[in-house]
C-alpha cells in the first residue's frame, strides 16, 4: 500500500500541489483525474522520484520513503510508465526488457539467450502472447505499452503509474491494454491510471481521485458515480467563466470545409465560419484539431474533402498559397513552430511580408519598421531594441510578435492554435482583447484551445473534437465547461438523441 500524506509542492511562487493526501492499495486500479495544469503530473512525478516534494510524507507498505531520484522510487517497487515510451525501436523486445541492466556471461559479453528466456518467462506469467525476438519497431502502440509494463514487472514492481496510456491507441489496442491491467491487478499490483477519457475510467477503474488547482477535490468508488459527476468534479463550480463581449457584426461566409479527411489525424470534418465570427475548436490531446488546421493552411496533406474560401473552391497545397488566399496561422508550440531564434525581433515580426513589400528581392526595412511601430503600440509589446534577439522577450511578448507578423499580412481568416500557451495572466488578457478587436474589424477568427475556459470566454460558438471527428457543437448556454468536457471525452450531446447529424453541425 502506498500512502501520500499532506504533500505540498511549489515551483517558484506557483503552488502546484496544495496539501494532497491519498492512498493506493495493492490490486486496486485508481483513476487520477483533473484538467490540464491541475497538478496530476507533478503529483505523480513526486511519487516517481522525478520531483521532490516540499513537505509531506510518502509511506510504502507502512515504511516511510523519500525519493530523490527515479531509481530510488523504482527500488521500492514503483514503476512509472510515461506517455513517451522508453523503448529503443531498433532492438528486439528481449534486449529492451533488460535495457540498462543487461545480463552478462562470465566473459562479459551479453547473455542474449538468458535474456530471451527470462522475457519468455515473464510473458507467460503475465499471459502475453508475443514473440520476444520481435523488433520493437514492428509493435503497435499497445504492445509497446505492454512490453514496458512487463519490464516493470520484471523488476518486481508492485505499483504502476500509467500516464494517459490510451491517448494514441485504437479501441482494439485499448482493450488489449485493459486486459493487461486486469491481469496486473490480479497479481496484486496497484495501478494509478491517469486519463482524460471518462468512459474508460468507468470501464476499468475501481476508485477515482480528482485534482483541481492542486487540491484533492473528490475521491470515491467509481461504481457510485457517472461520467457527468466526474466531469463536474474536474471543472468545479467556482471557475470564472464571464464571457467577454464585443460589438458583433457577422458578415458573409469566409471559409467552408466539407468532408475533410486526412489519412491519419482527422476524418469527415465539415464546418463554416463567417466574417467577424470567433469560433472555438477544442478537445483533448490527440484530437487532431492542430493537424486539421495545419492541413487547411497547406502545411499538411489532405486526402479527401473540399475547402471553399469566399464561396469559391480552392485547393491549398502550400503555405505561401494559403497566405495569398488571406489565411494566417499562429501555430502552437511557439518555440518549435514559430520562433526563429537566429533572427531579431523586427525580422521575426516581418518574415511573412518580406516578399510582399520587397523591391526586386530587396527587403523594404523602412516599411516593416513603420508597420511594426504601429503594431507594437496596438499590441502593447514590451521590448528593448528592434534588433534585440527574439529570445530576449517573455513568452507573452514573443506571442504578440508572432501575432504582429500575421496581422501585417492583413488576413481575412486568422487561425490561432493555443494562442495563450506559455503566456502569463496579464498577456493572456491582452491577447483576448486583441482577438475580440480583430473580430470587430471583420476578420474571421478560429481559436484552437484545450482550455475550455478560454473558449467560453472569447468564442461565439465552439466545435468539440474527439479522436479526429467533430463530436458536437456548443453555443450560448450550452457552451459551458461541463458540456465541453463531456463531448471532449467522447460523450454525446445532451440534446442529441440518437447520435449526431453532421449536416446540422455544418450549418452552424
Amino acid at each position: 500500500m502506498i500512502e501520500m500524506r499532506n504533500i505540498k509542492k511549489s515551483f517558484g511562487s506557483n503552488d502546484v500541489i496544495k496539501d494532497v493526501s491519498f492512498t493506493l492499495k495493492n490490486g486496486e486500479i485508481c483513476a487520477l483525474l483533473g484538467e490540464n495544469g491541475a497538478g496530476k503530473s507533478t503529483l505523480m512525478n513526486i511519487l516517481g522520484g522525478i520531483h521532490q516534494m516540499d513537505s509531506g510524507a510518502i509511506l510504502v507498505n507502512g515504511k516511510e520513503a523519500a525519493f530523490h531520484t527515479p531509481k530510488q522510487s523504482q527500488q521500492v517497487g514503483i514503476a512509472f510508465i510515461h506517455q513517451e515510451l522508453n523503448l529503443i525501436n531498433d532492438l528486439p523486445i528481449y534486449e529492451n526488457m533488460f535495457l540498462g541492466r543487461e545480463l552478462k556471461t562470465k566473459r562479459g559479453s551479453l547473455d542474449l539467450e538468458r535474456m530471451l528466456q527470462e522475457t519468455e518467462k515473464i510473458f507467460k506469467q503475465m499471459d502475453v502472447n508475443l514473440d520476444p525476438a520481435m523488433m520493437v519497431r514492428d509493435l503497435d502502440a499497445s504492445y509497446k505499452q505492454i512490453v514496458e509494463i512487463c519490464r516493470a514487472m520484471m523488476t518486481n514492481a508492485s505499483f504502476i503509474i500509467m500516464d494517459e496510456p490510451t491517448t494514441s491507441l485504437t479501441d482494439q489496442e485499448i482493450e488489449r491494454v485493459f486486459k493487461m491491467m486486469k491481469t496486473l491487478s490480479e497479481h496484486d499490483v496497484g495501478i494509478i491510471f491517469i486519463s482524460h477519457k471518462l468512459n474508460e475510467v468507468m470501464q476499468i477503474c475501481d476508485r477515482y481521485i480528482v485534482l483541481r488547482d492542486g487540491n484533492l477535490v473528490a475521491e470515491g468508488n467509481v461504481h457510485e458515480v457517472n461520467t457527468n459527476d466526474l466531469a463536474r468534479f474536474m471543472v468545479g463550480h467556482d471557475v470564472r467563466t464571464e464571457r467577454l463581449n464585443r460589438e458583433k457584426q457577422i458578415g458573409k461566409e469566409i471559409l467552408r470545409v466539407e468532408g475533410l479527411s486526412n489519412s491519419r489525424f482527422f476524418r469527415d470534418i465539415s464546418f463554416s465560419i463567417k466574417e467577424g465570427e470567433i469560433v472555438g475548436f477544442t478537445g483533448l490531446l490527440g484530437d487532431g484539431r492542430s493537424e486539421l488546421f495545419q492541413s487547411i493552411f497547406g502545411a499538411e496533406d489532405i486526402t479527401t474533402g473540399k475547402i471553399y474560401l469566399n464561396e469559391k473552391e480552392v485547393k491549398i497545397t502550400s503555405t505561401q498559397q494559403a497566405i495569398k488566399e488571406g489565411i494566417a496561422y499562429v501555430p502552437r508550440n511557439r518555440k518549435e513552430n514559430a520562433i526563429i531564434k537566429d533572427m531579431d525581433i523586427i525580422e521575426n515580426a516581418s518574415i511573412v511580408t518580406w516578399p510582399h513589400f520587397s523591391k526586386k528581392g530587396t527587403i523594404n526595412r523602412q516599411k516593416h519598421k513603420e508597420m511594426f511601430a504601429e503594431q507594437r503600440k496596438a499590441l502593447r509589446i514590451k521590448m528593448g531594441e528592434l534588433t534585440d534577439s527574439i529570445t530576449s522577450l517573455s513568452g507573452g511578448n514573443q506571442q504578440k510578435v508572432i501575432l504582429a507578423k500575421w496581422l501585417a499580412a492583413k488576413p481575412k481568416l486568422l487561425i490561432l492554435d493555443n494562442p495563450t500557451q506559455g503566456v502569463d495572466v496579464g498577456a493572456k488578457e491582452d491577447i483576448y482583447d486583441i482577438i475580440l478587436k480583430l473580430a470587430e474589424e471583420n476578420i474571421a477568427i478560429i481559436v484552437l484551445s484545450s482550455e475550455a475556459n478560454e473558449i467560453i470566454r472569447i468564442c461565439d460558438r465552439a466545435l468539440v473534437m474527439y479522436h479526429g471527428v467533430i463530436q458536437g457543437e456548443v453555443a450560448g448556454e450550452e457552451m459551458n465547461e461541463h458540456e465541453i468536457m463531456r463531448l471532449a471525452t467522447g460523450g454525446q450531446r445532451a440534446s442529441d438523441k440518437g447520435g449526431i447529424d453532421r449536416n446540422d453541425i455544418k450549418s452552424g
Binding site: 503555405t319 513552430n337 514559430a338
Partner: protein, 352 residues
Amino acid sequence: MISNPDKTAIKDKQSFFQWFKYKWSSDPLFSIAIALIIMIILQTLVLGFDYDSFGSWFQAWINNWINILRNNAATAIVALGMTFVIMTGGIDLAVGSTLVVTGALSMMLLDTGTKGFLLAMGISGAPAFVITILVVLLFGYLLGSLIGVSITKGKVPPFIATLGAMMIFRSVTQHFMQGYNPKVPSEFLQIASFKIGSFMIMPIIYWAIIAIILYYVSKRTTFGRQIIAVGSNERAAKLSGIHVEKVKLRVYALMGLLVSIAAIIQVSRIGSMDFSNAGRGMEMDAIAAAVVGGTNMMGGRGFILGTVYGMLIIAVMNNLLNLFGVPPFLREAFKGVIVIAAVLLQKKEKTS
C-alpha cells in the same frame, strides 16, 4: 529581461576595456577580426624590416599579400557559396568535382587544337570567350540545381547527395578527358592575369565583387534572410509561408554557379587543369573558412564577412608557416588546430 545591461553600460561609460568586453561578447565577428589582425601583425613582423627604404619594404609587403589573396581567390569564392549552403543546414562536398567538370568544359570549348568545339564552328577570339563563360556558368548552375533537386525533391540528405555527385563528376571528367590536353588560347589567360598598374589582381577583384554582392544578398534580400529562417527553424519557416524547398534549391544552384566562376579563374590563371587533382580538398577548405568565420554547421547562423575573415586567417597562417619553414606535410595540422580553436572560441556565445 528586456534591456541588455551591457548595452546601457556601454552608453554610460566609454572605457575601452568595457567597449572591448561588450563587443567581444555581443559581436560574433569581433573575435574573428581580432584574430585576423593579430595574424597580420605577426606576419608583418616575420616578413621583417630588413629593407633599404620604406618604399621597398612596402613593395615586398604588398606583393606578398597579392600572392596570398590571388592564390586563394578561387577557394574563397567557393567558400562564400558554402556559407549559404551551411546556413540552410546543408553541406556541399561536390564543389571540387564540380570545379573539374566546369573547368574541363571551358577548356573543351576554347581548345585551339583540332578538337576545339567553338573553333570547329568558326568562332574564336572575344565572342568565343563570352560564349564559353556563359555556357560554363549556366552548366555550373544546372549541376548545382541537379544536386538541389535531389536534396529537395528526392529527400536525399545533402551529405549523401553531394558525396555521390563528388564521385560521379570527377570520375566522368577523368574518363572523358583521358589523353586529351586542350590548349587554351593565351588571350583567355588575360581574364586572370590582366595587370592593373603592375599588379596582377584580377582574381582578387572578382572575389571582392562577389563577396560584396553576396554580403548584400545575405543582409538585405528576401532570399538571404529566408536562408537564415530555413536553417534556423525549418518548420517555423514553412509555417511562415516560406517555400523551403525553393530556397534550398536556389542555394545549391548558386553554389554551382560560384564554383563555375572559380573554375574559369583557375583555368585562366594557368591555362590548364589537372583533372585528377584540381579541386581535391576544396570542399574542406571552404567549410573550414566558413566555420572559422562563425558559421554554425547546424544551420541558421552564418556571416559572409566572417567567411572572408576565415579564409584570410587560414591563408595568412599558411603564409606564416611557409615563412617559418614548417614542412609542408605538417601545415595541414595547423589548419586543423585553427578550425577547432575557432569553434571553441565561438562556444562562449549563448547556446539557448
